[in-house]
């Protein structure tokens, strides 16, 4: 069942086409991600769906409703985090949660939410006394206060420390387990890979690829990286002779990296060579294409650029 349907969405700001003909669906219960560089049109799209702004053209449906007309009912049933936001700095944590709870028909127990984000002891602290990571946790948990069916998370972990990031990833995973649908935007490759069931890669207001992360990566026509470690030294020429190997890198200290379009034949001959020449492969790793490689291949530049 489709929770979000977007058809041929357009939004211009002056001369800039922020959203330039975007179409996609989000299915119930999936974590759907928009991956792209800053300024690609991610926030514009998500904020049109949330009802913050109107599209110039195109059709949006959220849980079967129109954000422009049924905004109030939609807001009752969604949870959001904004990319740039601030909270009432002079409220205490529990006061802020209770205030937000009062906006909804069926709020959840705010104490349980505080427990989930590990801030029970901070309940009487003012928002302005919290660290950046703690504030981000509060911002995240405000999105859950009405037990929403659908979560919109705009760059949920931008600028966070690794520990807070992991925590938020966990809670997103838990929201999915609870049957919630999640639509998130990110410019972090690893975040999209770790969280999303499907990813739309977006650039210059257009979706340039849309699939599961695994399919996207498999479709990238890039070399795979086979790295290993041996005791002593190997003859590079012998490695380069193996069929299917494009190039070999001697990283020093007995570490070598092979680049090859196909992994399987190279691994096979590598193992044969090891056996016949009496060396032992240690620390063997194979690295396929990343979503970043997909992005580079489609756009010719890096995502952070």
């Amino acid at each position: 069942m489709k929770v979000i349907e977007v058809e041929n969405l357009h939004k211009r700001y002056g001369e800039t086409r922020a959203v330039d003909g975007i179409s996609f669906d989000v299915q119930r219960g999936e974590v759907f991600g928009f991956l792209g560089p800053n300024g690609a049109g991610k926030t514009s799209t998500i904020e049109i769906i949330e009802g913050y702004r109107e599209a110039d053209d195109g059709r949006v449906s959220v849980m079967g409703m129109d954000p422009g007309r049924d905004g109030h009912e939609i807001k009752e049933r969604i949870g959001i985090t904004l990319q740039e936001t601030s909270l009432y700095e002079n409220l205490r944590v529990d006061e802020l949660l209770k205030l937000f709870a009062s906006y909804y028909r069926n709020p959840v127990d705010t104490d349980r939410l505080l427990e989930m984000i590990g801030l029970e002891e901070k309940r009487r602290s003012f928002i302005h006394e919290l660290s950046g990571g703690q504030k981000q946790r509060v911002i995240f948990v405000l999105a859950l206060i009405n037990d929403p069916e659908l979560l919109f998370l705009d760059e949920p972990t931008a600028g966070l420390d690794p520990q807070s990031r992991r925590a938020i990833w966990n809670w997103i995973g838990r929201a999915k387990q609870d049957g919630k649908t999640v639509f998130l935007t990110t410019h972090y490759i690893d975040e999209a890979e770790a969280l999303c069931d499907r990813v739309a890669i977006i650039d210059h207001g257009k979706i340039i690829a849309l699939d599961t992360p695994k399919h996207l990566m498999a479709s990238a026509e890039t070399e795979q990286k086979i790295a290993f470690l041996v005791d002593g030294h190997l003859d590079i020429a012998r490695l380069e002779e193996m069929s299917g190997v494009n190039r070999v890198l001697d990283e020093g200290h007995g570490e070598y990296t092979l680049y090859a379009p196909e992994v399987q034949p190279v691994l096979k001959s590598l193992i044969l060579q090891a056996e016949s020449n009496g060396f032992t492969l240690r620390g063997l790793t194979v690295e396929g294409a990343t979503l970043e490689d997909v992005f580079i291949q489609l756009t010719g530049r890096r995502i952070r650029a």
Binding site: I80, L82, T85, S86, Y88, N90, E95, L99, Y103
Partner: protein, 245 residues
């Protein structure tokens, strides 16, 4: 209703916790009234004790400063910092939010008005001999009208700096010119003309009349109509220019 009361409680908490704003908005009018009351102690204006004259003037100053400098500027700041944008993503309706802000301003103004009455009665021989009910009607009209003007000002300002500059530019001259501290009749013609173009003049005039005299409602028709007109205008501007972000 529950949402409105919850929001009102939070707005009041936020106001009281902002020490700088509380200090400024409370002490400036109080000190001004104390200063002028002391200077003119024992004096008479238009056949009443200066202290009695000063009550409505002091309340007028408080209303203007609460509506523009507190409500209007705070609203523009919350918009600029992104607080309002987050609220816009919840089912909270803009009318509930703005009503809570107007009620918050009303509570603050009421407390300050009581302080003004107490100061002038206790220190400067003021006497409230007017019509309580009509004073209350005038107060309500004035507070709602000026609070709506404060919200309209926030809507018209692009930034909180702009709102703050505009609030001061509007509120400061009104607080001194509009028959607050001296009667219009003693002012030079130019200033009197300016005062007559400012809405606070009519609020202070009606409030003073209803608080000190027992004249009938008909006396205040002009003042009240002007206040209602300002409210209607401000309401349209506020509704048209309100933004969550």
């Amino acid at each position: 209703m529950k949402v409105l009361l919850g929001q009102l409680r939070v707005e009041l908490l936020l106001y009281l916790r902002d020490t700088a704003v509380v200090t400024f908005s409370l002490f400036v009018p109080v000190l001004t009234v104390l200063f002028f009351g002391y200077l003119n102690r024992g004096g008479q204006v238009e056949e009443v004790a200066y202290g009695s004259f000063l009550i409505a003037g002091g309340i007028g100053m408080v209303v203007s400063s609460a509506a523009f400098e507190n409500l209007g500027v705070a609203l523009a700041q919350q918009r600029e910092y992104g607080v309002l944008k987050r609220l816009g993503g919840t089912p909270l309706r803009r009318w509930t939010l703005l009503s809570a802000k107007v009620l918050m301003a009303s509570v603050i103004i009421l407390i300050q008005a009581l302080i003004m009455v107490a100061l002038n009665v206790l220190l400067f021989d003021a006497n409230l001999t007017g019509n309580f009910l009509l004073s209350l009607v005038t107060m309500t009209m004035g507070v709602i009208s000026f609070a709506t003007m404060g919200i309209a000002l926030a809507g018209l300002s692009r930034s909180s700096d702009m709102a703050s500059a505009a609030a001061r530019a509007i509120s400061f001259p009104m607080q001194f010119l509009c028959g607050t501290l001296f009667p219009l009749s003693t002012m030079p013609p130019l200033l009197r003309t300016i005062a007559k173009a400012l809405p606070l003049t009519y609020f202070v005039d009606a409030l003073r009349g209803t608080m000190l005299t027992n004249r009938g409602m008909i006396e205040y028709t002009k003042d009240w109509l002007i206040l209602l007109g300002c409210f209607a205008l401000a309401f349209v501007v506020a509704a048209k220019n309100f933004r969550w972000e």
